[in-house]
């Protein structure tokens, strides 16, 4: 193979003519554009046949099953996440309710490992278990990305990042709380149920004494019971519907323990003299979710826990190339999967809550384990570690129970309607970028531009709708809702629901905004590579490095080229 770097003769016409005749140019040396990615593609620091992301019940079961079949498995989990990440509500809505102990990294590592005995079992089964490790990207070769030999994951801890190549990937990334705002929801103490459960059980570091739980479905009741068990007083469970939505028995047990359950109620405001929640104002609603004035009651609490439901964490699946579909009964956008938990992306599997939150239950461990086992077996079989016959035998024992669930978006819509009617339109929908519901539906430019013009005022969601279907990415660009450091974890669902509501569009017709790496907000000096191939540094230019591209037109032919690490600076007359 003859390769020559095209240093002296970049592809502008003068150089092309210098190459000589067009025809009969057989056996010409193959030139390479030194400024292109060719030969500089990142190499993985490590290659593993199977990577499992997420060490919940599904991920551990998958990893163990595959390891038992003889597959080399790397199992990564981001917990314990560091305090700074928690403070940004990543990956869960921690709402500033962490105890200072979360700053003690070794203590948190100890607790997270201790609280998950399955991790030790996985390690015993031969799985390489790495906790405290973020997965911030999946890079997959494609039609416009061929300079990559195989798929890679971007991993990082609090100090550095690295790349791991994989042949099979099982994503068991769990779910995230669905968040709907109300006046005062920016205060510390408004948090998500999933985050509360993590802080209670895995970190043992929840700084809450008196909690009001919003939502009486499985998530709400389970969170309330968990809080009570850990000594947190539950001042009320609030439900916008006229009846408890979750299991009767669980609700009765909570009522017996003295937890008031207020149905047909919504939140008007979270109050506090400082940035902290000190009380929450509730109000009764009628059959139309409309607040009934005069029924307000203020309940003292330091924590308001949103337990309305869960949304599958599909960001890594999306980056890995898995097609998503909308299923309200599974919590919204979920990966398309077959009977073996295979997604549409080659070699990529999904298991547990990220494949769909069945019946809105908070981490249905048995179902997650079954799905994990299946994914682990199928991955092992596809790697040739299991005979197909062995797989079908094992598959029978890991059969996934049929999931019967009701759609959840109608319920979330009822909550949203009640919150809008109780709290109004001037409530932030996006906290990071401070975009209110009104600013969102009026597609107003961000406040810091202080822009006002008649044409701008005439534009809104309605005028956009005349030009084409509503696209959440487009609205995001215009209003900035969803463009902040929490990477739209706190607003993705409510923006989608609001756009659906405001344009009378079914929520499944509002396309999911795109996910881009890094799917965890990591510092530049963590993401940067410790070293780079010499060619990456030496031939780096800001744009294409075409010498004539930026030459002054009045000095035709004069080349201007960017310096590289060689110290090259071409300012030459052609």
């Amino acid at each position: 193979m003859s390769r020559r770097v095209n240093e002296e003769r970049p592809g502008f016409p003068g150089a092309l003519r210098a190459l000589g005749g067009v025809g009969g140019h057989v056996g010409a040396p193959h030139v390479i554009d030194a400024r292109s990615l060719t030969g500089k593609a990142a190499r993985p620091d490590r290659h593993v046949p199977l990577v499992v992301v997420g060490a919940g019940p599904a991920g551990v079961a998958a990893a163990v099953e595959a390891a038992r079949a003889g597959v080399e498995v790397l199992l990564v989990d981001e917990h314990p996440v560091d305090n700074d990440m928690m403070a940004m509500d990543v990956p869960l809505y921690f709402g500033g309710r962490m105890q200072p102990a979360v700053r003690n990294r070794s203590l948190m590592l100890e607790r997270v490992v201790e609280s998950n005995p399955a991790l030790a079992a996985a390690a015993e089964a031969g799985v390489d278990v790495q906790v405290g490790t973020y997965v911030w990207a999946a890079f997959v070769p494609g039609p416009t990305f061929r300079e990559l030999d195989g798929p890679l994951l971007g991993l990082a801890d609090e100090r550095r990042s690295w790349l791991v190549g994989y042949e099979r990937l099982i994503v068991a990334a769990g779910a995230r709380d669905v968040v709907l705002g109300f006046p005062g929801w920016e205060r510390a103490g408004v948090m998500g149920a999933h985050a509360a459960a993590a802080l209670l059980t895995r970190y043992r570091a929840l700084a809450a004494r008196r909690m009001v739980v919003l939502g009486s479905g499985e998530v709400g009741l389970r969170t309330a019971a968990l809080a009570v068990k850990h000594g947190v007083e539950v001042a009320a469970i609030v439900e916008v519907a006229d009846a408890v939505r979750g299991d009767d028995k669980a609700a009765r047990a909570l009522a017996d323990a003295g937890v008031p359950i207020l149905t047909s109620h919504t939140v008007r405001e979270a109050r506090g003299r400082t940035g902290e929640v000190e009380s929450v104002v509730l109000v009764s609603v009628d059959g139309e979710a409309k607040p009934i004035t005069g029924t307000e009651r203020e309940i003292a609490c330091d924590t308001v826990c949103l337990a309305l439901g869960l949304a599958p964490s599909v960001e890594l699946l999306a980056l890995a190339g898995a097609r998503l579909r909308f299923s309200s009964a599974l919590g919204g956008w979920v990966p398309e999967i077959d009977g073996s938990m295979r997604t549409s992306a080659a070699g990529v599997f999904a298991a547990g809550d990220c494949a769909g939150v069945h019946g809105g239950r908070l981490g249905d461990a048995d179902l997650a384990r079954s799905q994990g086992r299946l994914a682990g077996l199928a991955a092992a079989e596809s790697l040739g570690a299991l005979r197909p016959a062995a797989l079908s035998a094992l598959r029978a024992s890991a059969a996934v129970p049929a999931a019967a669930g009701a759609e959840v978006h109608g319920h979330w819509r009822a909550w949203l309607r009640s919150l809008i009617q109780a709290g109004g339109w001037d409530v932030n929908v996006c906290q990071c970028e401070e975009v209110t519901r009104r600013e969102l539906v009026e597609t107003r430019p961000p406040r810091y531009l202080a822009w006002d013009s008649a044409p701008m005022s005439a534009r809104n969601l309605g005028t956009l709708l005349r030009d084409g279907p509503i696209n959440q990415d487009q609205i995001k660009r215009l209003t900035r809702a969803g463009m902040g450091p929490c990477q739209s974890r706190r607003c993705r669902e409510q923006v989608g629901l609001l756009l659906a509501e405001a344009t009378a569009t079914p929520v499944e017709r509002i396309p999911l905004p795109t996910f881009r790496p890094p799917i965890r907000p990591l510092p530049l000096n963590v993401l940067w590579p410790a070293d780079e191939p010499p060619a990456m540094r030496e031939d780096w230019v800001s744009w294409f490095g075409i010498p004539t591209q930026f030459s002054p037109h009045w000095e035709a032919g004069m080349a201007i080229d960017e310096p590289t690490a060689h110290g090259r600076l071409i300012v030459s007359e052609e």
């Binding site: 292109s36 990207a137 061929r146 660009r477 990591l522 000096n525 800001s542 960017e562 110290g567």
Partner: protein, 388 residues
């Protein structure tokens, strides 16, 4: 909504070049229709560095004249901010920064050299690794996403029409003229057609029997969380282009590109690659004071280049009612002027404010069909297949 109908001028491509041209035409009272495959400004037009400092170009003076007026002219915000600062970490980088400044000086613009202390006062996040810089009293930057939408809305406000989600599939040519543009929504009659379809411009030219050498490539950018606003956001250097947005995010790109093919009219994928890590490193070198800042987003875009990296803005002779417009990967900043130039080509047969001879298609008359291979501007697979 009435049945879609043709227009005096049909523009193929709702990117920044086509939208600006359409806006200038609509302002002049011309019946204009923009056909866009997806959403306006969705591809490279809305994904770039937002730089507005291209005084080397035949459109350069008009670019500098127009940008400060664009918010008022359009009626919508572009987030245009004047002035640029160049940061140099090495002598060659400083020489390049000065060269940029001097090109401006040749056109009558002012600039100053900055020592490290002055640089640090203006850009508090630069470090002791900076050796100096340039302060340009010209140039600037704007928000690409907001600007493309502003063009689109302003065009509509002047009576122009935009059809999104409409893919052009071919042309009806009669008597040496394109009489209609065929699309997935049926044909649209046209007196004049402007093809400003980015990487696909060459494919459309090909349908008309015209060779327009274009090579598409994928490029990438990164964005950090917001940090406190610096007095001048248009700061770049160390092989990066970009800016601090008015929200405070550091948004930068640069480094190696990947040559790709866009074989059909489908929207190209533009994934990111592990290059985002190298970009993070370059940015932290440029701004050591921001090395701890978090990266929250990255994106990619597909842009096209001609063999000399210069635009092709030209009115064809056969068919004689078609204007080709590719900005060769440098379209956003020049768009106010380029759109105006294109509108004049349509209306008057020539650009009245600048000499576009250097941008004519005929300079590629001798370009061999395998020019991409000869330049090494080829797709990875194609290269491998050949070398086997």
């Amino acid at each position: 909504m009435s049945e879609p109908s043709g227009a005096a001028v049909v523009i193929i491509g709702g990117g920044v070049t086509g939208l600006s041209a359409g806006w200038w035409l609509a302002r002049a009272g011309v019946d204009v229709l923009v056909l866009e495959r997806g959403i306006v400004g969705w591809e490279a037009s809305g994904r770039n560095g937002g730089g507005a400092t291209h005084v080397y170009s035949p459109f350069g003076l008009e670019e500098q004249r127009l940008w400060p007026q664009m918010d008022d002219l359009l009626g919508y915000p572009t987030e245009y901010q004047p002035r640029r600062i160049g940061v140099a970490l090495t002598e060659p980088q400083w020489a390049l920064a000065r060269r940029w400044a001097e090109i401006g000086e040749m056109r009558g613009f002012r600039w100053e050299s900055l020592d490290r202390r002055q640089l640090k006062e203006l850009v508090p996040i630069v470090g002791d690794n900076a050796i100096g810089g340039t302060y340009l009293h010209f140039g600037g930057h704007a928000n690409p996403q907001r600007t493309v939408q502003a063009y689109a809305w302003a065009l509509q406000d002047h009576g122009g029409r935009i059809l999104q989600h409409t893919t052009v599939t071919g042309f009806t040519v009669r008597g040496g003229r394109v009489t209609a543009v065929e699309t997935t929504r049926g044909p649209f009659g046209a007196d004049t057609v402007v093809i400003a379809a980015g990487p696909q411009t060459g494919l459309f030219a090909d349908m008309l029997g015209v060779a327009l050498p274009l090579a598409p490539a994928r490029v990438e950018m990164i964005a950090t969380e917001p940090i406190p606003l610096m007095p001048t956001g248009g700061v770049a250097g160390n092989g990066l282009y970009g800016r601090q947005t008015l929200r405070g995010n550091l948004v930068y790109g640069g480094g190696p590109h990947e040559w790709v093919n866009v074989p059909d009219m489908a929207a190209p994928e533009h994934p990111n690659s592990p290059l985002v890590r190298n970009l993070a490193r370059r940015l932290a070198e440029l701004f050591p004071g921001a090395a701890h800042v978090r990266l929250i987003r990255s994106w990619g875009g597909v842009v096209e280049n001609t063999p000399d990296g210069l635009p092709v803005i030209d009115r064809l002779s056969d068919p004689d009612n078609v204007v080709l417009a590719t900005m060769s990967s440098v379209g956003f900043g020049l768009s106010p002027a380029a759109g105006r130039g294109i509108s004049e080509l349509v209306l008057h047969g020539r650009c009245l404010f600048a000499d576009l001879a250097a941008l004519a298609l005929r300079r590629f008359a001798d370009t061999p069909p395998d020019w991409r291979e000869r330049a090494g501007w080829v797709v990875a697979d194609a290269r491998l297949a050949e070398t086997r």
